[in-house]
């Protein structure tokens, strides 16, 4: 769940406020540079964008991977640490997020857990995460599948019964690139 870590790191580093949108065009284990000037999608190092609000102003950064600068160590928690009472059904997943886990990461863990159950033959990677609700805290999470189209699944994210945002994950076959 690298993408969840990335969302949290970007939010904290940039003092982001909702609405915050992380969009990834490719996954990488490499360090990422943040650029405030637009990077073309034809740049081979381009790997995504992060749009957010700060003091009421819309901001954006472009993400470029540092070629060959692999991150050797991660300090984040295990995938389901910080979640309890996780319950995965055919159309939705429920869980309680406790304070040890940032909400974006908690939602990603529940979403991937849900999709692993409903489509076990696929690997899942984050394409886009849009957080309209608060980025910190705890509460009851609900993840519902909204639409499957092509290789993408769009999920609705609710916190304590209110819309928190949405997430789009991309499927790739197990054994292929994730």
């Amino acid at each position: 769940v690298f993408a969840g870590d990335l969302f949290v790191a970007l939010s904290e580093t940039l003092n982001a406020e909702p609405e915050a949108v992380l969009r990834l065009s490719r996954l990488t284990d490499e360090a990422i540079d943040l650029r405030s000037d637009a990077v073309g999608t034809d740049d081979p190092a381009f790997c995504g964008t992060f749009h957010f609000q700060r003091h009421g102003q819309a901001q954006a950064v472009w993400l470029r991977r540092r070629d060959g600068d692999l991150i050797q160590e991660r300090t984040s928690a295990a995938e389901h640490e910080g979640l309890r009472d996780m319950n995965v059904g055919p159309h939705e997943a429920l869980a309680q997020a406790v304070v040890t886990l940032p909400l974006a990461r908690a939602f990603l863990a529940v979403s991937v857990g849900f999709l692993k159950r409903t489509e076990p033959a696929s690997l899942w990677s984050l394409a886009e995460l849009r957080a309209a609700g608060r980025l910190q805290g705890r509460g009851a999470l609900r993840v519902t599948s909204v639409r499957r189209l092509n290789r993408f699944v769009k999920l609705c994210l609710e916190l304590d019964g209110r819309n928190w945002g949405d997430m789009t994950l991309a499927a790739s076959p197990k054994g292929g690139a994730a």
Partner: protein, 79 residues
Amino acid sequence: MSELIDLLAEIARTANDRLSGLDLDPDRDFDLQGLDSLDQVQIVMAVEQAFDLRIEDVDYDQCTSLLKIAAYLQRREGG
């Protein structure tokens, strides 16, 4: 047809932040305008929502430009 394409262009601009500032060429395929597969999915989902319909995967593969989406919608309406 041109009114429908204008409407689709407006809908496409609402599909995500990146598209909001783009002036899409209706005749050119999305991938030739720097859009990726997620952009295309988000445009098609936005069209589905705006027209209250569902575009199946087999038809989605044809929806690679605004003009082709417009042609698909017209065929669907006519059929």
